[in-house]
């Protein structure tokens, strides 16, 4: 079969795997953006910088304190999440009565500052971060070689995405969150502390970005620009999936990663713009996105 279309299976599956890995990052990042946009009505342009911070905190933890990858997986999201909570309380919460645009400008400015500081102190060549020894090596699956670490990234991101989906769609806290996304005033009038929920949601979305950053560190190396590079694609993913749709961002994230991987095999010249072409088509046909609710 593979001979028929003239593609060696190693190349096809290799690119597919790369696509799934990229898709895992798209999914985790767009999920956080979707949750934050849903409840806060803020387009969090600092998301890429917060993803980068997750990777950078892991590197600092290892380099300065000798903390292992596994500690980073726990501590980097917590650290960056707490910084998000402070950011929301001190700055973002002052913008809720204003137009969306102000939130976008604030978070975009913050992203530039964070990335600029990181470039200033750590340069742009990228800091190496080794794959943890427990996850080095790989498996020969017969048709392809699967590095253990990449398998781990796919599994970890799937678990985190599905757990997030479960909490939002199936639990009491999730019901509060969905209700507050629709009508925060009424939810507040039922006695629920909506401002605190908003703060925690922002903190969680940011922690999710940092978690993705930790997972990315051994694959892409730690680079101050890593977030700026990926976030543009992630915004396209969010637009395609539908702003604010939880399941939509997960499915679209993985799906577009795979589409991009396939494009690299069959039409390498166009692979980088593939997602944007899809975005344009989706916006023309279904402006609310594939999973967005039509108002």
């Amino acid at each position: 079969m593979f001979e028929l279309i003239g593609i060696p299976p190693q190349a096809l599956f290799g690119q597919l795997l790369l696509g799934v890995i990229n898709g895992a990052f798209y999914a985790m990042l767009s999920l956080g953006l979707a949750i934050i946009f849903g409840l806060l009505n803020i387009i969090n342009f600092a998301h890429g910088a917060q993803y980068m911070l997750g990777a950078l905190v892991s590197w600092m933890l290892l380099d300065y304190l000798g903390g292992s990858y596994w500690w980073a997986l726990l501590l980097a999201p917590v650290t960056v999440g707490v910084s998000g909570v402070i950011l929301e309380r001190v700055l973002i919460s002052r913008l809720y009565h204003l137009d969306h645009l102000y939130g976008l400008l604030l978070t975009f400015g913050l992203a530039l500052i964070i990335q600029g500081l990181a470039r200033n102190y750590y340069g742009i060549s990228g800091l190496p971060y080794a794959i943890p020894p427990e996850l080095s090596g790989g498996q020969n699956l017969g048709f392809m070689f699967l590095p253990n670490y990449r398998g781990w990234v796919v599994i970890a991101s799937l678990v985190v995405c599905l757990a997030t989906w479960f909490v939002i769609e199936k639990t009491r806290f999730g019901a509060y969150l969905r209700a507050a996304t629709e009508n925060p005033t009424l939810v507040g009038a039922f006695g629920i502390n909506v401002p605190r929920m908003i703060t925690l949601t922002y903190g969680f979305g940011v922690a999710l970005a940092a978690f993705a950053g930790v997972l990315a560190a051994p694959i892409y190396s730690v680079n101050p620009n890593m977030g700026a590079d990926i976030i543009i694609v992630v915004f396209a993913v969010v637009v395609i999936g539908g702003m604010g749709s939880i399941l939509g961002s997960i499915v679209t994230g993985f799906g577009l990663g795979i589409v991009e991987g396939l494009a690299r095999v069959f039409y390498p010249e166009g692979s980088a713009m593939m997602i944007f072409v899809i975005m344009a088509i989706v916006l023309l046909v279904k402006p609310t996105g594939l999973f967005g609710r039509t108002a």
């Binding site: 009491r172 019901a175 509060y176 969905r178 209700a179 996304t181 629709e182 009508n183 005033t185 009424l186 939810v187 507040g188 009038a189 039922f190 006695g191 629920i192 502390n193 909506v194 609710r293």
Partner: protein, 248 residues
Amino acid sequence: MSEEALATAPKSAETSAPLLAVRGLEAWYGESHVLHGIDIDVRRGEVVTLLGRNGAGKTTTLKSIMGILPKRKGSVVFEGKELMHLPARWIARAGIAFCPEERGIFSSLSVQENLMLPPKVKPGGLSVEHIFTLFPNLKERLSSQGTKLSGGEQQMLAIGRILRTGANLLLLDEPTEGLAPVIVQQIGRTIAQLKQQGFTIVLVEQNFHFASSVADRHYIVEQGETVDMIENSDLERNIGKLHAYLGV
């Protein structure tokens, strides 16, 4: 009504002080000053309506009591406690529940989730089983999306979900608006039952006939002020005056 249900209902106290006392309540929507002086007393276990023309400030009065409007002044005392400077969520926690005119059913929540959404604020709320005896339709639709219900069922859900919480003062904003006569009757019977169980209710109504069938007293609201109060028992004698107020 079962004895068990009666036992779980909020108990009325013997105090003669009003449960809710509103004095000189003013409120603004942005720059526009919409309430100029609302004075209302509601005793424990009473059903009181706010009557008035469209735009008189009835809904705004309920929202101001609930703390939903950011800019307001005056005094709202509930169970002896001043609520004026508290955010809506604390007012809810004090035991006041609000059922908005647009019903506020959440489309991303199932009927069950909508019903269970408001947290318990006090002991003494109705059990879910009891709510199903009041509104049997809800029981069969629990897994439906909230907004897939008919208008009448959505109204039942909107009232039902605030009965669970233990709140003893219910603010109902036009619960009969746009509903079929048979549903209006059902809501009327429900309000009578809730009153019997000790709930205190403030009702905004356009449907004067409905209001007179359920309420103890009526406050007339005109241009953001309470201008008169009529006992339901005196309604016959005051009917001419009332028609002049309401312009019917």
